[in-house]
C-alpha cells in the first residue's frame, strides 16, 4: 500500500462510471483497457429493497507489488518517496509477466505500443499537488483521496454515527 488510498463511499456511489471516463480522458487510455473500473455487484435485497454495490477497482499500489517482482526488466517499479507503482514504457518489453502476477487484474495491455500500462494514481497530478482524475471528477464525490489511516478513521466515525442514529441507547 502506497502512502495514498482511494476511499469509495458506497452510499454515495451511483455507478455512473464518471471515474472511468475521467481516467480514460486524463490518460488517453486505449479502448479495451481501463486503469480503474467500476464493477456493479447486485442487486441483492437488503431491508426490502434490492441494493447495488459498485466496486471500484483501480490499482491498489501494493506495499509488496507482485507485478514489480514479476517484471524481468525493472520496467515496473514502486516509487520510493510515496509507493506509487508504475511502468516505464521505454524498458517494458511487453512480456505480460505482470499481467499474470497481479491478483487484481490491474495491469492493462496497450495494443498500440505493445506494452503494458496501468493506473499510476495520475502521478503527474499528484506531483503538482492535485488528486487523481477519477477522484477529482467523480460525479457525486463518492471517491476520496486520503491516507490509509484517514480512511480507517473515517469509516469508524461513520459506523459509530450510524449505530448512534439507528439504535439510540
Amino acid at each position: 500500500m502506497s502512502d495514498y488510498y482511494i476511499y469509495q463511499d458506497q452510499n454515495r456511489c451511483i455507478g455512473c462510471r464518471a471515474c472511468e471516463l475521467h481516467c480514460k480522458t486524463q490518460n488517453d487510455v486505449t479502448v479495451g483497457a481501463s486503469f480503474g473500473k467500476i464493477i456493479p455487484v447486485g442487486p441483492r435485497v437488503v431491508g426490502g429493497v434490492p441494493r447495488m454495490q459498485f466496486i471500484f477497482m483501480p490499482c491498489f499500489h501494493c506495499e509488496q507489488p507482485w507485478c514489480v517482482s514479476a517484471c524481468p526488466t525493472g520496467a515496473m517499479s514502486r516509487r520510493e518517496k510515496d509507493g506509487i507503482v508504475s511502468v516505464n514504457p521505454e524498458t517494458c518489453i511487453g512480456c505480460k509477466a505482470c499481467i499474470t502476477a497481479c491478483p487484481w487484474g490491474a495491469v492493462q495491455w496497450n495494443p498500440k505500443i505493445g506494452r503494458v500500462f496501468k493506473c499510476d494514481y495520475c502521478k503527474d497530478r499528484i506531483d503538482e499537488g492535485l488528486e487523481p482524475a477519477c477522484v477529482t471528477g467523480c460525479t457525486t464525490a463518492a471517491l476520496k483521496w486520503v491516507s490509509p489511516s484517514d480512511s480507517s478513521a473515517d469509516r469508524r466515525k461513520k459506523f459509530a454515527a450510524k449505530i448512534a442514529k439507528n439504535k439510540p441507547v
Partner: protein, 697 residues
C-alpha cells in the same frame, strides 16, 4: 522543446441538454481534459458524458464540412460543398418558398432548452409562427399541466434538495439519467437524512438507493396519486393555511376524490393499500419540506397530463411551493435587481398567421413554446392547415425521438427543403437536402444564458479551441442566412462579442465579468418570495386553480373520471424505454469511450413471463409489433412489472458513417406505429406501445 501553451476556459457542456458548467484544460489548441466548473459546483464533479466530450471533439466520425444531397433523400450520397454554396442554396429555396406560400410554410424545430432565442428570432423574422421543439416526445404534458394549474412550467421551479426531507420519484431515474449537480445534490440530501420513496415499473440504480421501492403497474401512477390525495384530504393532513391562502377548488377536489381510496388504488396499481397510506402519512409528516418530482421524460400515456396535474395538486396540498425543501420558484434578472438580458426574438414583428400544429387555435390549452412536432408529417402531407414546404431542423432528430419514424419520413419526403444544422450525424440529417455542420460546444461561443433559479446567474458557453473541421458557430450560420434572406437587421452583430455586448447592454455586466468564474452570479443569496403575500401564480386568479379556468374555458374537464390503462393482450408487453448515465440517447452512442461501456441495449423482461416463454438472460429474442420485427438479447429480472418490457432508448443507429454505433442494438421507436398523436397534454403517448416477444430458436 517549446513550452506548451496552456489555458483554462470556463464554459457550458453540451454532451446532453442538462448543460452543466465545465472547466476545460486546453493545451496547444487541443482539449486536454474537461471537468465540472468548481466555482459553480464546489468541485470538479462531472458526469461520464461530460468527461467524454474530449473524445467527441477529437472524433473523425462527426460532421466535418457542409454537405448537399446528390442522390435520393436518404440514399446517403453526398457532395462536399463550400459554406457559400450551401448557404446560397438554402437561402434561395427559402426565399422562393416564402414568396410562393408565405413565411408560415417554413418551420423550425430544435431540441428546446436554454439556447433557443436565436432560432426563435430567425423563424419569427421570416414571418412564421412555427417554432417547435422535441417536447412533444418528452415533457409537453408536465409543462402544460403546470401551466394550467399554476401558470408555471416544469422549469420555472427548482427542487430545494438541500433542505428537502422527503421525496417521491415517479419513474424519474435520477441516478442514471443524470445531471451532475442534481445527482450530487440528491446524494448529499440522502446522506443528510432525506427520506426517499421510489415508484417505478422497474428497478434501477435509483431505486437501489431508496428507502421504499414500489413496483407499479405501467400507466397507473395517477391512481397512486389519487389515493394519496384521498388519504391526505380525508385525514386532513394538508397544509390548511397554505391551501386556504393559495388554492382554489378544494371542494371540487374533495368531491372528485371520494371513490379513489387506497384499496381501489391497490387493485389498479398493484401497490398494497397500506404502503400508499404509509407514504401519505410519511410525506405529510415532513411537509412542507417535501418534493413530488415532476418527472423528466413525461410523454407516457394519453392521460399523463392528469397524472402530472396530480403532482402539482399534492405539492400544493403539502404547501411545498416556495417552502424550504420544496419547489422554489425560479427568479430572473429583475428579481435580482437587474435590467433584463436582451433577446433577439423580441426584435422581429409579431406574426399573425396561425400555427401549423393547432396550438393556440385547435389546442388552446397547449403552449406554443414547445409546439407539437408530432403534427409535422400530417401538416405536410395534407397541407392542413396550409402548405408546409421547408423544415429547418437545428440539433434535433425527430426520427430518433418521436414514435414511428417511417410515418414521420412520409411527411419529410414531401418537403421542398429539409435542412439539418447539427454537430453530429443524425437520422434526419441523413434525409436532409443540406447539412450545415455546427462548430462543437468546445469550438464556439454561444449567446449568454440566463440561468434562472432561487439564485439567478448568467452563464456563458465559451470557445475553448479552434474548430477542427470546416464547421461554424450557430451565431454565424444564422446571421449568414439572415443576411441572404433580407432579415439581417434582426441579427444586429458581426461577431459573437458584439452580440453578447448587445445582450448585456442594459445589465451593466460585460463579457470580461465571465472570465474569473465562467458565470456571473446575479444574487449571492437565495431570493425567496413571501409565502403569505408574494407568490406569483400566473393563472387568471393568481392562485393555484385545481379547477383550471383555462381548461374549463376550452371545454376540457379538470377532473374527468379516472381511466384505467389497457393491459397488454396475452403474450404482449408494454414497451418502456429509458436512459443510463453513460449515454445521451442516440447522440452519444458513437462516442469512442461511451460506446465502449455500453454499445448495445438489451430487453428487460420479468422472470415469471420469461419462464413462460422459455427465455433466459442472454437469449436472443424477437420483438415485434405492427409488422415490425427486431432481435435483441434478453435480460431476465425479477424487478420489472410483468406487463412491461424495457430497453435503453436511442440504439439501433442507422447511419453507416457512425461505424461504432451502426446497427448496434434495437431502435425502440420503430415499433410505435400510430403514436404520432396529440394526447391531452400535448405529448405523444409513447408507452402505449405493445410488443410481442418470443425466443429465437
Amino acid at each position: 522543446m517549446t513550452e506548451a501553451v496552456k489555458k483554462t476556459v470556463y464554459s457550458v457542456c453540451a454532451m446532453c441538454t442538462v448543460r452543466c458548467p465545465i472547466e476545460i484544460e486546453v493545451e496547444n489548441n487541443q482539449v486536454k481534459k474537461i471537468w465540472g466548473n468548481p466555482h459553480v459546483l464546489g468541485g470538479r464533479y462531472l458526469c461520464p458524458r461530460g468527461a467524454a466530450g474530449k473524445v467527441f471533439e477529437n472524433d473523425t466520425e462527426r460532421l466535418q464540412h457542409p454537405m448537399m444531397r446528390v442522390g435520393e433523400r436518404g440514399e446517403g450520397k453526398w457532395r462536399k460543398v463550400t459554406w457559400e454554396e450551401a448557404l446560397d442554396y438554402v437561402a434561395e429555396k427559402l426565399n422562393k418558398i416564402r414568396e410562393e406560400y408565405g413565411g408560415e410554410s417554413i418551420v423550425l424545430g430544435d431540441r428546446g432548452g436554454g439556447f433557443t432565442d436565436m432560432q426563435k428570432a430567425f423563424i419569427k423574422a421570416l414571418g412564421s409562427p412555427n417554432y417547435f421543439n422535441h417536447h412533444g416526445a418528452c415533457s409537453n404534458s408536465v409543462h402544460n399541466a403546470h401551466n394550467a394549474i399554476a401558470g408555471h412550467r416544469r422549469n420555472t421551479v427548482s427542487y430545494d434538495y438541500k433542505n428537502c426531507r422527503y421525496i417521491v420519484l415517479y419513474g424519474r431515474n435520477m441516478l442514471e439519467s443524470i445531471g451532475t449537480k442534481e445527482a450530487k445534490d440528491f446524494i448529499d440530501a440522502l446522506e443528510r437524512g432525506m427520506k426517499f420513496t421510489h415508484i417505478d415499473t422497474r428497478w434501477n440504480y435509483t431505486a437501489a438507493k431508496s428507502h421504499r421501492f414500489l413496483v407499479i403497474r405501467p400507466g397507473t401512477d395517477y391512481a397512486f396519486n389519487l389515493a394519496l390525495i384521498n388519504v391526505i384530504l380525508k385525514e386532513k393532513l394538508y397544509d390548511a393555511e397554505f391551501v386556504e391562502r393559495w388554492v382554489l377548488g378544494l371542494r371540487e377536489l374533495e368531491e372528485f376524490i371520494v371513490p379513489y381510496t387506497p384499496e381501489w388504488a391497490e387493485k389498479e396499481t398493484g401497490i398494497p393499500a397500506k404502503e400508499i397510506v404509509a407514504v401519505a402519512h410519511e410525506v405529510s409528516s415532513h411537509k412542507p419540506a417535501v418534493i413530488f418530482n415532476q418527472g423528466w421524460m413525461t410523454a407516457w400515456t394519453e392521460t399523463d397530463y392528469y397524472f402530472r396535474r396530480s403532482i402539482y395538486i399534492l405539492t400544493a396540498l403539502m404547501g411545498a411551493y416556495e417552502a424550504k425543501g420544496g419547489l422554489l420558484f425560479n427568479k430572473g434578472e429583475a428579481a435580482a435587481g437587474y435590467k433584463p438580458v436582451k433577446m433577439l426574438a423580441s426584435l422581429p414583428p409579431a406574426v399573425k398567421a396561425k400555427r401549423f400544429d393547432g396550438v393556440g387555435w385547435k389546442y388552446k390549452h397547449l403552449s406554443a413554446d414547445y409546439g407539437l412536432a408530432q403534427m409535422l408529417p400530417h401538416a405536410i402531407l395534407n397541407e392542413d392547415p396550409y402548405p408546409v414546404k421547408a423544415f429547418i431542423c437545428y440539433r434535433f432528430d425527430p426520427l430518433s425521438s418521436f414514435p414511428d419514424p417511417e410515418a414521420y419520413l412520409e411527411g419529410l419526403k414531401k418537403l421542398d427543403l429539409l435542412v439539418s444544422i447539427d454537430v453530429n450525424y443524425s437520422h434526419i440529417g441523413w434525409y436532409a437536402d443540406v447539412i450545415l455542420p455546427e462548430a462543437t460546444y468546445l469550438e464556439r461561443t454561444d449567446p449568454v444564458l440566463v440561468k434562472k433559479g432561487a439564485k439567478p446567474a448568467l452563464w456563458l458557453r465559451r470557445q475553448a479551441v479552434e474548430p477542427k473541421y470546416d464547421s461554424k458557430p450557430k451565431w454565424w450560420i444564422f446571421k449568414q442566412l439572415a443576411d441572404r434572406l433580407g432579415i439581417g437587421e434582426y441579427f444586429p452583430y458581426n461577431t459573437i462579442e458584439e452580440l453578447i455586448q448587445w445582450q448585456l447592454q442594459d445589465t451593466g455586466i460585460s463579457l470580461s465579468d465571465f472570465d474569473a468564474k465562467g458565470i456571473v452570479q446575479l444574487s449571492d443569496k437565495e431570493i425567496l418570495w413571501d409565502r403569505e403575500s408574494g407568490l406569483k401564480f400566473n393563472t387568471p386568479s393568481g392562485k393555484i386553480e385545481l379547477v383550471s379556468s383555462m381548461l374549463e374555458d376550452n371545454g376540457i374537464p379538470s377532473f374527468p373520471p379516472y381511466e384505467s390503462p389497457k393491459s397488454p393482450p396475452e403474450g404482449h408487453y408494454r414497451l418502456l424505454t429509458g436512459k443510463i448515465a453513460v449515454h445521451t440517447q442516440g447522440t452519444s452512442l458513437n462516442n469512442l469511450y461511451l460506446n465502449e461501456i455500453q454499445s448495445e441495449n438489451t430487453l428487460w423482461i420479468n422472470s415469471t413471463e420469461a419462464k413462460k416463454l422459455g427465455i433466459k438472460t442472454g437469449d436472443l429474442v424477437e420483438v415485434s409489433a405492427n409488422g415490425v420485427k427486431h432481435t435483441i438479447k434478453a435480460s431476465v429480472t425479477d424487478y420489472i412489472h410483468p406487463e412491461a418490457v424495457y430497453t435503453l432508448h436511442g440504439y439501433g443507429r442507422e447511419i453507416p458513417l457512425q461505424t461504432r454505433a451502426y446497427k448496434k442494438g434495437m431502435r425502440d421507436n420503430i415499433f410505435m406505429k400510430g403514436l404520432l398523436k396529440v394526447a391531452i397534454g400535448g405529448n405523444c403517448p409513447i408507452t402505449d406501445c405493445f410488443v410481442r416477444v418470443r425466443k429465437v430458436s
